[in-house]
C-alpha cells in the first residue's frame, strides 16, 4: 500500500472520475445501478403491457414480436440481477460502508477498486450496445441455457448472446476484484480494538456475500468460456450431437446461480440489521447467532443448486437429496428472520422511513420464503415449474433485498453519503405506494401461475387456460400494479433531488447510532477519520442501563 494511492486527489479527473476514494467509487456504482434500474423497469413495463394487451401497440414502444419479447425478458432479468442488485447492494453500499464501519481510511487496494468500477462500467456499455446489434439482444433467458444460447440459429443472431457473455464475464471480473478487496479489508484493516465479533452485521453480510460469490462464480466462468467457444469456435461442449451435454451448463450455471441469490439477499439483510436496532433502541437480538446463520447459509447455498433442475431429467434420487438441502436452508434464513423480529420485541419503535422499508423487507420476504416451500418440494415443483408462480415467487424474494433493502439503506445512509436530510413525508409516501403496488402486481401472478400461465411466453392467449375474461382481468391488474410501482418512484426521485439541492444539513449522527460511520462528519472527508478510532465495544449497545444517552458509540471511552 503506497501513500500515493490515498493521498488527496488534485485534479477534477482524479477526484470525480478516476477516483480511488471508496466513497466516490460507491457513488459511481450507485448511479450506474440506479440508471440500469430505470432501464430494467422500463423493460418490465413493456413485458407487462404486452401480457395484458397482447399484440397492441405499447405506448412509448410500439408493437413487440415474440423474438423481441424474449430479448426483453432476458435483458430485464440480466440487468436487474447483475447490473442493479449487485452494483447497488454489494458494490455501492459495500464500498461506502466497509471502510467507514471498521474505522479504515479506505479499501485495502484503492487502485484495484477503481479498476473494478471501470471494468464494470465497460461491461455496462457492452450490455447496452447489445440492444442495437443485428439480430437484437440476447434472447435465451437470463440463465442463457444451451442449446438455445449455443447457436446463432436459435438465439436471434450471432452478436446478441456473444456480447451478453462478454458483458457478463467482465462484470464477474469486476466483482471478483471488488470482492477480494472487501474480504481483505474487512479481515485485515479493522481499527484497533475491533474484533471480528465487533463488526457491524452489515460488514459481516458483505463479507459473507463476497466469499460466496468468489467461491461460486469460478465454474460458471469456465462454463461461459465453453459457451463462447461453442458459439465462435464450433466446439461442442453443450451439443449432444458431438457428445456434449446441455445439462452441464445448467449445473455450472446454478452452482453459481443459487449462491448468487444469497449474494443479493445478504447485503439487503445487512441493511435491515443495521436499521432495526437503531429505530427500536434495542441491542440486536442474537448477534452471534446471526453471524453463524450467515455462515451456515453460505455453506448450504453450495449444495442446493440442482433444485432448479428437478424436471431437467436428473436422477430422482438426486432430486430428493436436493429437496432436503433446499428445505434445510430455510432454517438459517428463518433464524435470521426470528432474530429480526425478536430485536423489535418491546423496543421503542420509531416508524421513520428507513424503518418502514426495513420492516417491508421482512414482510415481503416472508411471503417469498413461504411460497418457496411449494417450489423446493420436487413433487409440487413439477406442476409449478416455469409458470408465473415461479415468476411471482422470485420477485417476492428478490424485491425485498433489491427494492426494500436498498431503500432502507438509501434513507438511512443518505445523510452520511450526501450530507443532507431527506424529507420524511415524501419518504413515507414512497414506501406505502411501493409496498401496496408490489402486492397488486405480483399476487395476480401467483394465481395466473396456478392457472397454468407459462413464463417467457410472449402471448398468454396461445394457451386455452389463459383465454377467459378471468385470466385477462388478472393480467390487467398485474400490469396496472407494475405501472403503479414505476410511478411510485416519483416521490423517491423528487425527494432525493430536492434534498440534494436544498435539504437540511445533516449532522454527523442524525439517528443517534453506534457504528463508526456516524462518528465522522457528513459527508466524511477524504481519509475518513481524523485520528485512528479505538474501538471499545460491539455495535448494538442501545439503552444500556445507568447511562444518560440511550446509545453508546463503539469508540466512546467508558
Amino acid at each position: 500500500m503506497s501513500t500515493a494511492a490515498i493521498a488527496h486527489p488534485k485534479s477534477f479527473w482524479r477526484e470525480y472520475v478516476f477516483s480511488t476514494d471508496h466513497k466516490t467509487i460507491a457513488k459511481q456504482y450507485l448511479s450506474t445501478g440506479i440508471f440500469m434500474a430505470l432501464v430494467g423497469g422500463l423493460l418490465a413495463y413493456v413485458m407487462r403491457m404486452q401480457l395484458a394487451y397482447p399484440g397492441q401497440a405499447i405506448p412509448g414502444y410500439g408493437t413487440i414480436d415474440p423474438q423481441s419479447y424474449n430479448a426483453v425478458v432476458t435483458m430485464h432479468g440480466t440487468i436487474m440481477i447483475f447490473w442493479v442488485a449487485m452494483p447497488i447492494l454489494l458494490a455501492a453500499f459495500g464500498n461506502f460502508l466497509i471502510p467507514l464501519m471498521i474505522g479504515a481510511a479506505d479499501m485495502a487496494f484503492p487502485r484495484l477498486n477503481m479498476l473494478s468500477y471501470w471494468i464494470f462500467f465497460l461491461s455496462t456499455v457492452v450490455l447496452l450496445a447489445s440492444f442495437f446489434v443485428p439480430g437484437g439482444a440476447a434472447a435465451g433467458g437470463w440463465t442463457s441455457y444451451p442449446p438455445l444460447s449455443g447457436s446463432a440459429a436459435y438465439s436471434g443472431g450471432q452478436w446478441g448472446v456473444t456480447l451478453w457473455l462478454l458483458a457478463v464475464a467482465m462484470e464477474f471480473a469486476a466483482f471478483l476484484m471488488g470482492g477480494i478487496n472487501f474480504i481483505t479489508t474487512a479481515i485485515n484493516n479493522r481499527a484497533p480494538g475491533m474484533k471480528l465479533f465487533d463488526m457491524p452485521l452489515m460488514v459481516w453480510m458483505q463479507l459473507g456475500a463476497s466469499i460466496i460469490f468468489l467461491f461460486s462464480v469460478g465454474p460458471l466462468i469456465a462454463g461461459a468460456v465453453m459457451l463462447i467457444l461453442d458459439r465462435v469456435a464450433a466446439t461442442g461442449f453443450y451439443n449432444p450431437a458431438t457428445g456434449g451435454d446441455p445439462i452441464l451448463f445448467q449445473h455450472l450455471f446454478w452452482f453459481f446461480g443459487h449462491p448468487e441469490v444469497y449474494v443479493i439477499l445478504l447485503p439487503g439483510f445487512g441493511a435491515v440489521a443495521e436499521v432495526l436496532p437503531v429505530f427500536s433502541r434495542k441491542p440486536f437480538f442474537g448477534y452471534r447467532m446471526m453471524v453463524y446463520a450467515t455462515i451456515i447459509t453460505g455453506v448450504l447455498s453450495f449444495i442446493v443448486w440442482a433444485h432448479h433442475q428437478f424436471i431437467a431429467g436428473i436422477d430422482p434420487r438426486l432430486a430428493t437429496a436436493f429437496s432436503i438441502t433446499t428445505i434445510l436452508i430455510s432454517v438459517p434464513i428463518a433464524v435470521m428472520t426470528f432474530a429480526f423480529i425478536a430485536t423489535l420485541y418491546k423496543g421503542s419503535i420509531e416508524l421513520k422511513t428507513p424503518m418502514l422499508f426495513a420492516l417491508g423487507t421482512l414482510v415481503v420476504f416472508l411471503l417469498g420464503g413461504v411460497t418457496g416451500i411449494h417450489l423446493g418440494t420436487a413433487a409440487t415443483d413439477i406442476y409449478l415449474h416455469d409458470t408465473y408462480f415461479v415468476v411471482a415467487h422470485f420477485h417476492y424474494t428478490l424485491i425485498p433485498p433489491v427494492f426494500f433493502g436498498f431503500f432502507a439503506a438509501w434513507y438511512y445512509w443518505f445523510p452520511k453519503m450526501f450530507g443532507r436530510m431527506l424529507n420524511e413525508g415524501l419518504g413515507k409516501a414512497h414506501f406505502w405506494l411501493t409496498f401496496i403496488f408490489m402486492h397488486v402486481t405480483f399476487i395476480p401472478m401467483f394465481l395466473l401461475g396456478f392457472g397454468g400461465h407459462h413464463r417467457r411466453i410472449s402471448n398468454p392467449q396461445f394457451f386455452e387456460a389463459m383465454q377467459g375474461p378471468e385470466a385477462e382481468r388478472l393480467q390487467i391488474i398485474a400490469t396496472a400494479g407494475a405501472i403503479g410501482i414505476l410511478l411510485s418512484q416519483i416521490p423517491f426521485v423528487v425527494n432525493s433531488v430536492l434534498s440534494l439541492l436544498r435539504g437540511a444539513k445533516a449532522p454527523a449522527n442524525p439517528w443517534q447510532a453506534n457504528t463508526l460511520e456516524w462518528t465522522v462528519p457528513s459527508p466524511p472527508p477524504h481519509g475518513n477519520f481524523e485520528t485512528v478510532p479505538q474501538v471499545y465495544r460491539g455495535p448494538y449497545e442501545y439503552s444500556v442501563p445507568d447511562r444518560v444517552d440511550d446509545w453508546f458509540p463503539q469508540d466512546a471511552k467508558v
Binding site: 481510511a105 471478483l176 484497533p192 465454474p219 469456465a222 468460456v225 457428445g243 472527508p525 481519509g527 475518513n528
Partner: protein, 193 residues
C-alpha cells in the same frame, strides 16, 4: 471539505498477515474454483468416454514433459528471488526473476510449437470433445502464464530500482499456482492415454 492527514492505520493489519499476501491468497482461491470447475467437468466426461484415450495419444508427450520441467525450474528461480529479497539483495532477486521470465517464454514457445503441430495434423478444437477440452484448458492456462509473465516483468523493473520488495513474494505465489495447475493438466491431458 476538511482535509485530514492520511490515517496511518490503513496499514493496521488486524491479523498480522500483510494485506497484500492476504489479497493474493483470496485471488488464488478464486482462480482455484475456475480451474477446479473446468477440471472437474473434464474428469466427469473422461469417465464416460474411455475412447478419448486414443485421442490423447496424439498429444506430444515429450513437449509436455519438457514444459513441465521448464515450469518447475522457473518456480525454483522465483523461490530463489524471494530468498534473495529477504536478504535485501535486490539485484540478485531481479536476476532470478529474469530467469523465471525466460522459463515462461520457453514454455509459451513450446506450447506454440505444439499447437501449430497439432493443428497442422488436423487436431483442431472442433475435431472432438477431447480436443475442445485440450485447447480450452491449456489455452486458459497459457493465458495465465502470459499474465504471470507481465506481472513478473513489472515487479522485475521495480525491484531493479530497489522498490516493492514484498511484491516478489506475491508474484511468486501466483507463479506457483500457475505451475500447480499445469501439474494437474499434464497427466490429465497428455499422459492418461
Amino acid at each position: 471539505m476538511a482535509e485530514y492527514p492520511r490515517a496511518e492505520h490503513i496499514l493496521n493489519e488486524s491479523t498480522e498477515v500483510p494485506t497484500g499476501r492476504l489479497g493474493i491468497w483470496w485471488f488464488l482461491a478464486s482462480e482455484v474454483v475456475i480451474f477446479g470447475g473446468l477440471i472437474a467437468t473434464y474428469v466427469l466426461f473422461r469417465w464416460q468416454h474411455p475412447e478419448w484415450a486414443a485421442e490423447a495419444s496424439h498429444t506430444l508427450n515429450f513437449a509436455g514433459a519438457l514444459n513441465t520441467m521448464v515450469l518447475l525450474t522457473s518456480s525454483l528461480t522465483v523461490v530463489l528471488a524471494h530468498a534473495a529479497i529477504t536478504e535485501g539483495k535486490f539485484q540478485l532477486a531481479a536476476r532470478n526473476l529474469g530467469f523465471t521470465l525466460l522459463g515462461g517464454a520457453i514454455f509459451m514457445g513450446v506450447k506454440a510449437y505444439e499447437y501449430s503441430h497439432e493443428i497442422a495434423a488436423g487436431f483442431v478444437p472442433a475435431r472432438s470433445l477431447f480436443w475442445s477440452f485440450y485447447y480450452t484448458m491449456t489455452g486458459l492456462h497459457a493465458l495465465h502464464v502470459l499474465g504471470g509473465m507481465i506481472a513478473i516483468a513489472t515487479v522485475l523493473v521495480a525491484v531493479r530500482k530497489g522498490h516493492a520488495p514484498q511484491r516478489v513474494e506475491y508474484v511468486g505465489l501466483y507463479w506457483h499456482f500457475v505451475d500447480i495447475v499445469w501439474i494437474f493438466l499434464f497427466p490429465l491431458l497428455y499422459l492418461a492415454s
